[in-house]
């Protein structure tokens, strides 16, 4: 596959489970070496280029009894800049405060992370990614296990952040993604894209290997081109 994401884009990657979305993310982050081909992040190898990336993992994988406050979770984002020094500096603390306020979680900074709701946790992990001062945000299923209302607010926040930061978002949720992103691609072993915001039936059928029902909402903006019925 061949894929180029430009600065300032809001790139949505969709595809079925097992299609290689997570593998692609891990390869971009340099956690897995590609078997063939190469990846460049702002012209550098993933192991170096990942300093430009803020990564937001799926939160459901964390230990629910782990004793840690919101502030300390966000502080982890400064480790890359801090290095081996045992303590965080005042500047690090300031950066943490800033990014907590960006995601509107300042009031929760001394709470235990496990006392928060799914959507709030997601905001905290977003803050942890922002505190690294990234040029690119990589989000893995950011709205899995939150309700539609919260989902909408998270996407609104991402759109605001997109003014300065490139977004790459991975999800299996086709519904919401296309109304917010600027480019969509489908991944299932192969990559399918129209290089714009539309998802075509053909793309989805190729990616999911079966006919997929497409419903055009037209709100907030039309994501599907007018298409013939009954084919």
């Amino acid at each position: 596959m061949d894929l180029e994401i430009h600065h300032g884009e809001f790139f949505g990657l969709i595809g079925p489970n097992g299609g290689g979305k997570s593998t692609l993310l891990k390869t971009i982050l340099g956690l897995i070496d590609p078997t063939r081909g190469n990846i460049k992040i702002y012209g550098e190898e993933p192991s170096k280029g990942r300093k430009y990336i803020g990564y937001v993992p799926q939160y459901s994988t964390f230990d629910k009894d782990f004793p840690i406050t919101v502030k300390n979770v966000v502080m982890m984002g400064r480790r890359g800049k801090k290095g081996l020094k045992p303590w965080y500096s005042k500047k690090d603390m300031e950066a943490v405060k800033d990014s907590l306020s960006k995601v509107e979680m300042t009031d929760y900074s001394d709470r235990n992370i496990n006392a928060l709701s799914g959507g709030q946790k997601q905001r905290v992990f977003l803050a942890r990614a922002l505190v690294t001062e990234p040029r690119l945000l990589l989000l893995d299923e950011p709205t899995a296990s939150v309700d539609t209302h919260v989902e909408e607010s998270i996407y609104k926040l991402l759109s605001e952040l997109n003014q300065e930061i490139t977004m790459v978002l991975v999800t299996h949720d086709i519904g919401i993604i296309s109304s917010h992103v600027s480019t969509v691609a489908c991944l299932n072993r192969h990559l399918f894209t129209n290089n714009d915001t539309t998802i075509s039936a053909e793309m989805l059928e190729n990616a999911y290997q079966c006919p997929v029902d497409l419903i055009a909402h037209g709100v907030p903006h039309r994501v599907l081109p007018p298409h013939e019925h009954g084919t």
Partner: protein, 288 residues
């Protein structure tokens, strides 16, 4: 009824209390890591493997290496087990509970076999009971120095690497992305676990080690929201329970190791019950 003041002047009682305190402090830090990283049975595997090391040391003494202290044997086997169980390759390739189980029983069997081969007329061997269930009454000043040194190593490590350790334990993937040498740090933590296990053999014995390592930390986890606080509270709880267990065992003339463990078990049960009642009461209040 309790004549604590009378005992406190007796040197072996002082050493016994001191050993309990030093071990509890080590467990406050390392036990917390073992608990939050879900390594309780990795620690159990390390502990039981070290029994093989004790047998090995006695056997080497039997062969003429009189200097081979059982603690050295225990330490070598514990570190070996830690490195084996911590190896990424082993973890990827085999189910971890299987490798732990295998190491656990091989260590025990090796200990029994080797101790059996030793000529007990030539070499003084501790009873199985002391090794398996502890004999804190036999703590020497030299043991205390070893325990103190290990505690200092643990404290230096945690002061330097607390933040990285916290991050690694919470989210290994993010730690890796942020440039932490994940493999090295994991191994470091496991080696410290092996050191702590070796200290604990004297006090509660191979079989009961998991109690001192995990119960104070598990109780502390119920009441804290920061990893550093969990370590501090676990240390305090451990010191209180170990000291009262020691004194109680003198008063009641019971085995100290088992007494400490029973006290810890009670403390854990009551904490779980207390927390459960607290949550019920709070939700009832909020409901009205």
């Amino acid at each position: 009824m309790f004549d604590f003041i009378d005992y406190l002047g007796v040197p072996f009682v002082q050493r016994m209390l001191m050993a309990g305190i030093l071990a509890s402090l080590a467990c406050g830090v390392i036990g917390t890591l073992v608990v939050v990283r879900r390594n309780v049975f990795v620690a159990g595997g390390i502990a039981h493997t070290s029994f093989g090391g004790i047998g090995f040391a006695y056997y080497m003494q039997h062969l003429g290496w009189a200097w081979f202290d059982p603690m050295i044997g225990a330490l070598i086997f514990a570190i070996g087990a830690a490195m084996f169980l911590g190896s990424e390759k082993i973890k990827e390739r085999y189910r971890q509970d299987s490798t732990i189980g295998a190491l656990w029983v091989i260590g025990m069997a090796l200990g029994v076999l080797l101790i059996n081969l030793v000529d007990k007329n030539k070499i003084q061997v501790l009873s199985f009971e002391s090794i398996l269930f502890g004999n804190i009454l036999l703590t020497s000043s030299f043991d205390l120095i070893i325990m103190g040194s290990i505690l200092i190593i643990i404290y230096i490590f945690i002061l330097l690497f607390f933040k990285d350790t916290e991050m690694l334990s919470f989210d290994e993937e993010f730690a890796k992305i942020s440039g932490i040498k994940v493999g090295l740090l994991n191994t470091g933590i496991l080696i410290l676990t092996a050191l702590t296990v070796t200290i604990l053999i004297k006090i509660v014995g191979v079989v009961l080690i998991l109690a001192m390592l995990t119960i104070p930390a598990a109780v502390s986890n119920l009441f804290t929201k920061r990893l550093s606080m969990m370590m501090a509270l676990a240390s305090v709880i451990g010191v209180i329970l170990a000291t009262s267990g020691n004194l109680l065992s003198i008063e009641l003339d019971t085995p100290p190791g088992a007494t400490i463990v029973i006290l810890m078990g009670l403390a854990y049960s009551f904490s779980l019950l207390g927390k459960w009642i607290y949550i019920k009461v709070r939700s009832l209040r909020q409901g009205t």
